[in-house]
């Protein structure tokens, strides 16, 4: 990686946040920062990297923004500017203000995620488009519309008021968790790491802490969950490859009295896996009990499916099959349901019924890797 690329990765997000807050315009901030990185690409290799790269980039971006504004003055004079709080100083405050603006409930859910990825995590439009499997132009249009709404509707670039904070924080957490799971699902560790960085910026509240723990626990397995480009199931992962520091931090975060919200319960489940030295040491009864709690809180059929799998480990296949009954109507296209049922039937020795279920699962599988895996199981 070149020095400019390294600087881009490290500083782009915070610099963009600072510039958006100062210039009160998304577009101008993006363009000015782009200019600054272009200047760095031209100058650093020959003249050497400045002593404080971030400060260098910021001052170049400010100058370029001033140039652009002068050139475009007549065009932009009547455009509304973003509303910011005066005197907002630190980089952390700017990043937080930008994060809360991007996750504002007045924006649609898809727009929130796209804006956060673009302006807080610093992904490019084509990268975001690929993540959501839409054409670049569609994603570009979505982001442009969302920026327009922020500007025209007066969505402020500031930390929410105390009475709005709890609701707004919940919204931000769900966007950040989505960002994390997108990174996790697509094996983009740096995206998952960015989500973790952003959660760390947020003010400490029980669900924030729990979400951080949950992310750390999942992230700690990143080097073991793939081998030669293939998915490795939790039971088959090399546990010595799990990041012990991250697990330790997560366990510390969870070792406090806190209400059992959805993130905390999920984190406690992940923690049970993290502390099992070998797969066969897993405390499935405890995990099944946590899933039962989580199901009571969320009412989610996917949680019930996971609970059934845990019960299959702790109590046996009959109990698991009973929990799976009645889920078909609620999860008609989910391949994990027939796969779980097939596994339980196989354990009961009913090879014929198991095969039927695995075939059904293979039909529904969304990726080739999973389909191949299930076809092999069906035999």
């Amino acid at each position: 990686m070149s020095v400019v690329e390294a600087a881009y990765r490290e500083h782009r997000g915070p610099l963009l946040a600072t510039l958006v807050a100062e210039l009160r315009s998304f577009d101008l901030a993006e363009e000015a920062l782009q200019d600054a990185f272009a200047a760095a690409t031209g100058q650093w290799p020959g003249e050497g990297v400045p002593r404080r790269p971030a400060a260098w980039l910021l001052s170049v971006a400010r100058r370029r923004a001033a140039d652009r504004r002068r050139r475009e003055e007549t065009l932009t004079r009547y455009l509304p500017l973003l509303i910011t709080s005066p005197g907002q100083a630190s980089e952390r405050d700017d990043s937080l203000a930008l994060l809360f603006a991007c996750c504002h409930p007045a924006l649609g859910r898809e727009s929130r995620v796209a804006l956060t990825l673009r302006f807080v995590a610093g992904l490019t439009v084509p990268e975001i488009a690929r993540l959501f499997l839409v054409p670049d132009a569609t994603m570009a249009a979505r982001i442009t519309r969302a920026k327009q709404k922020i500007r025209t509707a007066g969505i402020p670039l500031r930390f929410p008021s105390p009475q709005d904070l709890p609701e707004r924080l919940t919204g931000v957490l769900s966007v950040l968790y989505l960002l994390f799971t997108e990174g996790y699902r697509s094996y983009r560790d740096e995206l998952a790491a960015e989500a973790i960085r952003l959660v760390r910026l947020l003010p400490g509240a029980p669900e924030t802490t729990s979400l951080l723990a949950l992310m750390l626990l999942q992230h700690s397995r990143r080097h073991s969950r793939r081998r030669d480009g293939r998915l490795v199931l939790l039971a088959d992962q090399d546990r010595t490859g799990w990041n012990a520091l991250e697990i330790a931090e997560a366990l510390t975060l969870l070792a406090v009295d806190a209400p059992d919200g959805p993130y905390r319960l999920q984190a406690l489940i992940a923690a049970r896996h993290a502390v099992a030295e070998r797969a066969e040491d897993t405390d499935w009864a405890a995990i099944a009990a946590l899933y039962a709690q989580l199901e009571a809180v969320t009412g989610s059929p996917v949680v019930r499916l996971n609970r059934a799998v845990a019960v299959g480990e702790s109590e046996g296949p009959e109990a698991a099959l009973r929990l799976l009954d009645g889920l078909d109507a609620r999860l008609p296209r989910n391949h994990h349901l027939p796969a779980a049922r097939g596994e339980m039937l196989r354990r009961l020795g009913d090879a014929e019924a198991a095969r039927e279920q695995f075939e059904r699962a293979a039909e529904l599988a969304p990726t080739d890797t999973e389909r191949d895996f299930l076809i092999k199981k069906a035999g």
Partner: protein, 117 residues
Amino acid sequence: MKYALLMYSVEKSWAEADEATREQVYAAHGRFSELLRERDAERGGEELALSNTATTVRVRDGEPLLTDGPYAETAEQLGGFYLVEARDLDEALEFARQLATVEDIIEVRPVVEHPAA
């Protein structure tokens, strides 16, 4: 920034409301106006007569065409509006949430402010 708070309600229930209910609703609007004045946010507003008194004008083939009734026949109809001054959308939404305890639906729309020529 200036925002319009557009109030939509199920008209039928307002048309059929008894005197006591109407008084309560008007009193609630009085308190809301008072709140706006305290915050120096009130910039105007009106109650509209029921939509069955509306007349809609369109141009068809170059001729103005009049129809009896509102533009859209829906259960909820625009029943009135406030114009408020707010520092940003968050403050405008705070006003809207207050108002939503009185009326069914509040649509918050930023007002386009044209620069003085």
